[in-house]
Symmetry: C5
């Protein structure tokens, strides 16, 4: 599913490179190291001021998530919960203990473990919802680091361009004015590209991944609560299936 992000990023970069070549411009005209320093360095500094050091360094992990996330398959999750419900119905809640080993999702394990331990339903739901809230908060904090990069990059692009213009206006001669202006505009270009091809889409994708993970957690909570209260596995399946898009629903039902 991450292929989309990788393809998008590579394609976007190629596209900009090709359009430069098509314009018959030398590629060197688009590279200016001090400009890169102002835009990228400035944005990093602004983000460094904005967040605790720990959040700042988590940016790598978060950005990696954009490309290398493995998302819970909602259909399989529902099937798994229904299957657990069948076991619980047939052999009792305690029988679920034997099935914990086959589970890989730590959030389901947490819920099943508490159900097996005989915790009260309110306690189970309370703990699971608090965990879900905490995950949502951590996700939001992580996403906001990326968001800020996307917001500060154009600002520092403009700062760099203003600095370039002021330098250029200082010694204006008809021969150098064009080149000076071109260099000055480079930082605005960098800021726009860094923001629109990297950080804003990354932030958007992270928001999407986060919503998907929270949906899986919501389904898990509802499933565990239903299992705990001894609901009929068919009713549980019907309830949880509403979270699956209709097209995929039949496939899932046939598999069940």
């Amino acid at each position: 599913m991450d292929i989309a992000s990788i393809i998008g990023l590579l394609l976007g970069i190629s596209l900009l490179v090709i359009s430069v070549l098509l314009a018959g411009a030398s590629f060197g005209a688009f590279i200016d190291y001090p400009s890169i320093m102002v835009v990228v360095g400035g944005s990093i500094c602004a983000v460094l001021i904005s967040f605790p050091l720990k959040s700042f360094f988590s940016v790598g992990t978060i950005a990696k998530n954009v490309f290398f996330n493995k998302q819970e398959n909602i259909g399989q999750l529902v099937d798994q919960i229904v299957s657990l419900a069948e076991t619980a119905r047939r052999d009792g809640l305690l029988a679920l203990e034997n099935r914990i080993d086959e589970l890989s999702n730590s959030f389901i394990i947490l819920g099943i473990q508490m159900a097996v331990d005989g915790s009260r339903p309110e306690v189970i739901e309370d703990i699971m919802r608090t965990e879900m809230d905490a995950v949502a908060t951590r996700h939001r904090n992580g996403k906001s680091v990326i968001d800020q990069m996307g917001r500060f990059a154009p600002a520092f692009g403009m700062i760099g361009t203003l600095m370039g213009l002021i330098v250029m206006l200082g010694d204006m001669s008809p021969e150098t004015i064009g080149g000076g202006m071109a260099v000055a505009l480079l930082t605005t270009l960098y800021g726009a590209i860094v923001s629109n091809l990297f950080f804003l889409p990354f932030a958007e994708k992270l928001g999407f991944i986060n919503k998907h993970e929270l949906l899986a957690m919501e389904i898990t909570i509802r499933g565990i609560m239903s299992i705990q209260s001894g609901d009929n596995p068919r009713v549980i399946e019907q309830k949880l299936s509403t979270f699956i898009p209709p097209k995929l629903r039949n496939a899932s039902k046939e598999a069940a």
Copy 2:
């Protein structure tokens, strides 16, 4: 009802073409393939990074919805629910089973089926509301793909213009400066048109269609719950009619 969108789009395009012709400009001055590539390609890449591949490819289906949606007629929906309520009142809930075949809306069918099966009211409402939430979420995700296209297009328009300006400033000669500047501005123009004549209105329309569909679902849920609890068909009609604009209300009542 989609005629509005089609007329609007065709009229808008004609209008821009005519205004170019009126200005006595050659139409060719407004076509530049690399600029189109940067704006459209760049926006597509940014959206490709922002969303999973599946959501991205659904863009076609979603955009089609703008033009070819058939919206539930709220008046007819209310009449249908009232008629079902009358059957249920007269012949009992089970009699609704015979009427399922004449229903076309799968959401009413779901509700009636559960009512006929004797599911408890809380379960029916819970499942129907979950389905409604799921539809709302899918709609929101679909709409946000279009929204992002509308937001990234002007950004890539600006990126293209900056690139064009930098190329132009590199070799400035009095003869070419005008043409170079014109080409540079083309990407900003493309970005503005793509955003304001296509994607932003599409997103707005989708939001409207979605709200209408959710309203129909809300009415259906209230209707099914009232039928299930054996309410008087006249009371149901009075309740649900409040959702119909007053002007259309009389017509609906006369028809009933």
Copy 3:
């Protein structure tokens, strides 16, 4: 109360005309039909794509509302409800039937009718609140058509200016460049005026009118519910009077 809007609009237009004359400019320099076509036509097309045809055509009625709305007088409304409460207290709820004829507000009539018919309080409140929600939704839809006009107009102003600049840059000669640029800027000017002197203030006014109407409905609902539960007319008056600004309150009390 609409005088404000009419005066504001006429004054604003005169003001712009006078400032052109003061600048000693020929008025003709500010009229360019293709530019008007791009800005007004383009915005209309974008709105046509954004909304169903029915909503689009309601724009006339909605815009008329800005100038020719008659707003419920809150003080009189409270007095009327208190007077109805006195009748109900003295002669019973059924006595209200005789007073329905003297009522002009269809929302009070709806409530009184249901109270006279002996509907249960929950049903009355439910139906009245649903009606109020429906009115709020219709208002919001109507307002958003105007809002969109105000948002698209500057965008098409910019589109027109970009087109003008591209045409101008195509054949740049020292004699024509000034005139070409002036014409190009006209669309941006049109977009800004159409948006800031017409549609944005209209949308603001509509929001204000809508809030006022919903306040009157809220007061009516609370009043009807109090009448229905047999509250003391003095208590009802005290409760509802809090909605009247303090300055106007005494006048209303004296009148009562």
Copy 4:
């Protein structure tokens, strides 16, 4: 407390005047009556269209509030409520009647009067909360008039500049172009100053004053409800003191 606003305004104006003088520019270059007319007149017209005449004329009173408001001292308010609670505890609720004369805040008087009259707690809270909501609504309406002035001023600044540019481009001669451009830019400058030195800070201040007044009302409601239910004055003091910033709290406690 209003000294801040007056100092800020005078200082800001002086600052702009001084910076003009420092630049060695003639002050007359910054005065252009038609430009003032377009910016200030245009914004006033837009606001006139946006609001009913009554709200529009309240702008003077509202703006005066920015400078001449006397804010409830939260510490004194808490002390007063605690003292009333002590009286109520010692001599009964009816004893509060004798103390009404010493109260100046009409909102406390309203609450105490109802408590003395023996109104039911739900009725007291309901009426007081409705009054509080009504005050919040009136404040919000008042603030939004100022907000709109702050939003329309830069828009009409831009409209004026566009008009100036179009006039200037009409007869471009090397001698007049500089002066024409300077006059054109004046309206944008006026719009920015009117917005950023007057109306936006005024709106911000009004928001602050309103929040403070609503906080005082919230404290009053909680205090009256506690007095009415016969709570221990120490508990009331502890509860209400949490609204006072810690630094000021000790002082208030010592005074108590």
Copy 5:
């Protein structure tokens, strides 16, 4: 944890200085005192108008918080609450009185003190939540002073640039136009730097610090309520641990 903010700020300033030096520009070209006066002075005046004097002077304390805040360690807080819960379980609520001296966080002390005093749970939660709301409000007010500085700075940057341009256009000569333009652009540059390297990141950081403090308060409230109701310390630990990020959780558990 504040090292991030200090490093970020110093690095950001150095980076801008270095990029000026790299451009071979004289540093003096970037210093203009009247421009600094307009941007910094203007923003300060606008904020002075926007807030009461007291809030304005708190800006120093607030800004200091960005660099010198000591944040509650959530892991240690949870351990402390669990340890208090063990004491309460073993020796009764009253035994907590002896442990108050070892607590440093005044919010826990408040809660424990009330629990020891035998206040009713609703009263404890009510007082603690009111205190938490009051802290949130004070934080929000403090943050909004910084926010406004970040918003007004670019506005006054633009005002300064417009003034500079108008002065420059007044006496345009080919020799001075470049320098005049450069000086005019300086204020926009100052506004952008002051906003993007100082106040916007400061506001972001404050928001982060505030959220962290409110989280600690939320955990404290839940912990105190659980202790008061005599919950099992293991259950309390499990509940509160969900607020700790998974990576840090094990360490905390081992320490416990």
